[in-house]
């Protein structure tokens, strides 16, 4: 997996340094061990160093599962490289296990020859017993195929903190920073950022800041002085597109996109939301940006969240609601009202494992059909999905643009892996962001010259109705969920009018222009097309690279717009001898595409709560290619890079 190129010698110790192109590290420990913080810090170090990176936090739904047990294991996987990577990595090259439970839960993912770093202090008889180990696995064959480093992290941390006067228990809590320090030494990471971050985090408790920094330095020094670690590794900065980068999670990027939509439209943002995993961080983030005229309303329930957002939209704000699958079900009736009222509304669903409460902290793509059809009546809404954490920013802006232009609820489907995953993000220049400004209607518009206002007189091009907000004299009007007469908007039970209105609402959504899909087919000779949407972008792209490196051709398209679909998609699908559609559901996009285009495809599905592995999808594609008649196979030469 890890491709090594050259070696050199370390200036500080004279020890060997190996140059690597990419590394996958997984920190695993108890939920209380601070693994997410450790992973986050290492990510920031990698980002500051200029590597490309992708992360996969994985944590239990329980806030504090019983200590030392398998359900309590929390992990953070980080992939960093000197080239552009697409996924957090299939398997770790390095596993840091802070206790026996973390070892047991993760060891099967570590390939032979991988580096295993364990905190031996937690390997007591009692802790081993908690996870069903009769004997210490470190003594047996279980770990024989790995490069094992046994480190008494708790003891060493305690020793380093002796002078601080902290209790034994408090001192030991800094052992995650010891691990971070050791790994930072091994991979030549810059350390200033971490020390600065710790000082900031514990600004109110300087003694804890000091303790964590001491533990962090102790870990670094341990690597440097112990002969056990003879080799360290370097991963050079990646050659990314020029510009200023930062690291960003999907939920943060989404929240920033919403803030930017408010700024670029000149409208106040009103977020109505109810806490739900994994969407709550969007609520938290937006609550911090009141300075951008963002109002966040933590509602009594999901229904009130979307209701208040729609009420604010009626008043001329950009109404936004954020939720996850179970909450989307509750909001359905109000979204339907938004379809009938034809008001802008941005609905964000950060998908998670279902059905019902399902797997709150895990990822799935199982709400596509709910987003498309989960309302009574014919109630079409545009559906749009980001493909990566950073892409959530632009997707949110795009969703807001569609909502404002076409006066419609828009469904944005993120998911757990995008929400909590992070990657380097090319910081956009705000002057390049699209202008989303809207004109409220201020004058009567009745075509009969009566001087009346017709709230359902549509724009000829967009089919959008006028948006006249309360406070505008002369345009007083009433709208509601009952069917309305075309034009005047008065209540109408006329059969022909209803048929017309159903078709007008559908036509408005169907007519929204979305960009054509661009096929990624480097050789131009592929017979097999792989199509995906949302967070499978990374694993699909990485799988395609592997297949191409092995000398086979494969084409890929990835959909941002799920409704309406790009105009050229039918043509593109028809051009290939086989189409493969991998999804983290039981084939929802495949169902839509087959019905729409009468094109068959292989629906490859997995609903495990975790992203696809690149290796797994590469195998799927390889098998499909192997089944192709021989004359269709073309060769190319790979660039040697796998991701």
């Amino acid at each position: 997996m890890t491709s090594e190129t050259t070696t050199s010698q370390r200036a500080d110790s004279g020890e060997e340094i190996r140059q690597l192109q990419r590394v996958v590290i997984r920190f695993a420990g108890d939920s209380g061990d601070g693994m997410q913080l450790t992973g986050d810090r290492f990510t920031s170090e990698a980002a500051a160093f200029g590597n490309d990176l992708a992360t996969l936090p994985n944590f239990p739904a329980e806030i504090r599962a019983p200590q030392g047990t398998l359900p309590g294991v929390s992990s953070f996987q980080l992939h960093f490289a000197d080239f552009d990577i697409l996924t957090p990595g299939d398997r770790p090259d390095v596993l840091v296990a802070m206790n026996p439970a973390a070892l047991k839960a993760n060891i099967t993912d570590l390939p032979a020859g991988g580096i295993l770093i364990v905190n031996t202090d937690e390997f007591t008889k009692r802790n081993l017993g908690k996870v069903g180990y009769d004997d210490n696995p470190l003594d047996g064959d279980d770990v024989a195929s790995f490069q094992v480093h046994e480190v008494a992290m708790a003891q060493l941390t305690r020793g380093a903190l002796e002078e601080t006067g902290l209790s034994k228990k408090e001192a030991e809590r800094a052992k995650n920073m010891f691990a971070l320090g050791l790994l930072s030494w091994m991979y030549h990471r810059p350390t200033d950022g971490t020390e600065r971050a710790l000082n900031e985090k514990f600004a109110k408790r300087p003694e804890l800041a000091e303790a964590n920094i001491l533990a962090f330095r102790a870990g670094w020094n341990y690597g440097e002085t112990t002969e056990a670690f003879a080799v360290s590794y370097e991963v050079a900065p990646a050659k990314l597109e020029q510009g200023t980068y930062r690291q960003i999670t999907g939920n943060a990027a989404l929240a920033y996109g919403i803030v930017a939509a408010g700024q670029r439209s000149g409208l106040p943002v009103f977020l109505g939301s109810y806490p739900i995993t994994p969407a709550s961080d969007v609520l938290h983030e937006l609550s911090q940006h009141k300075g951008f005229d963002v109002t966040s309303f933590q509602a009594e329930d999901e229904i009130a969240g979307v209701g208040a957002a729609l009420g604010a939209s009626f008043g001329g704000a950009l109404g936004v609601t954020t939720t996850s699958g179970p909450g989307l079900g509750l909001k359905a009736e109000t979204i339907g009202l938004g379809v009938a009222l034809e008001l802008p509304l941005l609905v964000v669903d950060v998908q998670r494992g279902g059905p019902s409460t399902g797997l709150p902290t895990k990822t799935e793509q199982t709400d596509l059909l709910q987003a498309m059809f989960g309302r009574n009546g014919e109630s079409p809404v545009p559906v749009i999905a980001p493909q990566s954490p950073g892409d959530a920013f632009g997707t949110a802006l795009d969703a807001a643009r569609i909502a404002l232009t076409y006066r419609t609820p828009v469904l944005l489907l993120s998911d757990g892996s995008i929400a909590n995953g992070s990657e380097p993000w090319l910081v956009p220049d705000v002057t390049d962001l699209p202008d989303l400004s809207v004109e409220f209607t201020r004058e009567p518009n009745a075509p009969d010259g009566s001087g009346d206002f017709w709230p359902y007189l549509r724009d000829a091009e967009t089919l959008a109705r006028p948006w006249a907000v309360p406070g505008t004299a002369g345009l007083e009007h009433r709208i509601g969920g009952l069917e309305k007469a075309d034009g005047t908007g008065n209540i109408s039970y006329d059969p022909d009018n209803h048929d017309k209105m159903v078709r007008l609402r559908q036509g408005k959504i169907d007519g929204i222009p979305v960009p054509d899909v661009v096929v990624d087919d480097p050789s131009g000779h592929a017979d097999v097309l792989v199509i995906g949407w949302g967070s499978t972008y990374g694993p699909i792209g990485a799988a395609c690279r592997r297949v191409r490196n092995a000398g086979r051709d494969v084409a890929a398209v990835h959909l941002r717009h799920l409704n309406p679909l790009p105009a050229n998609l039918g043509d593109v699908l028809g051009r290939y001898r086989a189409v493969v559609c991998p999804e983290m559901n039981l084939g929802q996009l495949a169902m839509l595409l087959r019905a729409r285009y009468l094109v068959d495809m292989m629906s490859y599905t997995k609903v495990a709560g975790l992203p696809f592995k690149a290796e797994e999808l590469a195998d799927v594609l390889t098998n499909v290619l192997a089944d192709m008649p021989a004359d269709t196979v073309k060769s190319n030469t790979g660039n040697g890079v796998q991701a």
């Binding site: 900065p237 229904i303 009420g311």
Partner: protein, 357 residues
């Protein structure tokens, strides 16, 4: 820090303080939309509509700054018949929708029109949370103790034993007392009126509109089609007068046929932790309860005088106190943040840790 008393003083009567007014004379006709009113003949909703149309001109507000939001039910057609802005929304959700509107638009006078099923059954959660938050809204709860629009099922305010299409052997569940519910939900303004009593209804509506915060007005409303005559004992017959107990802040609670002194021959007196009704002649004057609309406990025990059998029905303003409103507080935070730290989008997007390639 201002004291509770100062805060109370500070916002009394300011419910409409931020809503633009007009000097143009207005009439009921100006608030009448061109839509034909479609309630059943004799429906109590007509009387309430007439009262609202008649009283809105007195507020002197700009018509375009008034919004009526309703849920679903017979009474929820209300917005269509008023020439203001309006939204006929979905069942039970009007308080939530109105919360978003009122919070983002302080320049609007926002009204919610709802019924006993809409507000207390499917929308109970939104109602209690609007009241607790004290959003600047006026809620008119039309209580006819029946589901009218769905053709006559019992409602959460129907008396036990109600025989309807869905309860042929009589309903068995205990009803809500809407005033008690509202008071329990920390409402700052709670009142009750009878649809047919135009004068008292108008008085209560005005006080409710001028209250800053959520005002709830329960209106006893006749549904002659599915629950004919439910409130008749309060309207006609010899003892109607001795059943209705109108209360006024600061005045002794006396009701019923007038005594020689011109006030009612019945009075409300304290009875343990509760209240009781007595003949005025039988009690000392100092034992007669003087209504205090700022006394939460008194308001609650007054609400408990009203049984479902309507033997004693208190009307008027039960409670009127001032408490900071949710929407004012939220806007104050946004204003403060915009003032102290106006948003710089480019700085937000850059964040603290960047690197350049």
């Amino acid at each position: 820090m201002t004291t509770a008393a100062e805060q109370r003083e500070g916002t009394v009567g300011l419910g409409l303080a931020d809503v633009p007014t007009t000097d143009d004379p207005q009439k009921a006709k100006d608030f009448t939309s061109d839509q034909e009113v479609r309630w059943c003949p004799g429906c109590g909703d007509y009387a309430v509509l007439a009262a609202v149309r008649g009283f809105l001109p007195d507020l002197g507000l700009r018509r375009e700054n008034i919004v009526f939001v309703s849920g679903i039910g017979c009474s929820s057609r209300f917005p269509y018949y008023l020439d203001t802005y309006g939204m006929h929304s979905i069942h039970g959700r009007a308080p939530a929708i109105a919360t978003g509107l009122a919070t983002s638009r302080p320049d609007l006078s926002v009204w919610v029109v709802t019924g006993d099923g809409d507000a207390l059954s499917i929308g109970g959660n939104h109602l209690i949370h609007a009241l607790r938050r004290n959003v600047n809204l006026t809620i008119l709860l039309f209580n006819n103790r029946i589901y009218g629009l769905t053709k006559g099922q019992y409602s959460p305010t129907s008396e036990v034993g109600k025989v309807t299409k869905s309860t042929p052997m009589g309903s068995v569940d205990h009803p809500f007392n809407p005033v008690s519910v509202a008071l329990g939900a920390e409402a700052t303004f709670v009142a009750r009126a009878l649809d047919s009593d135009r004068r008292s209804l108008t008085e209560v509506l005005r006080a409710a509109a001028e209250h800053r915060g959520t005002s709830l007005v329960e209106i006893f409303q006749d549904c002659p089609i599915f629950n004919d005559g439910t409130f008749d004992v309060l309207r006609k017959g010899d003892d109607a007068e001795s059943r209705l107990i109108p209360v006024t802040h600061g005045e002794p609670i006396r009701f019923g046929p007038a005594d020689e002194d011109g006030a009612g021959s019945y009075a409300v007196v304290r009875d343990g932790f509760g209240l009781a009704v007595a003949k005025t002649d039988d009690v000392a004057e100092r034992d007669i309860v003087v209504h205090d609309a700022t006394d939460h406990a008194l308001a609650f025990v007054l609400s408990r005088l009203s049984d479902q059998d309507l033997n004693h029905t208190v009307t008027g303003v039960f409670r009127s106190v001032s408490r900071p409103t949710y929407d004012d507080a939220v806007r104050a935070q946004v204003d403060q943040a915009r003032n102290d730290k106006p948003g710089d989008l480019q700085a937000l997007l850059r964040g603290k840790d960047t690197w350049t390639v």
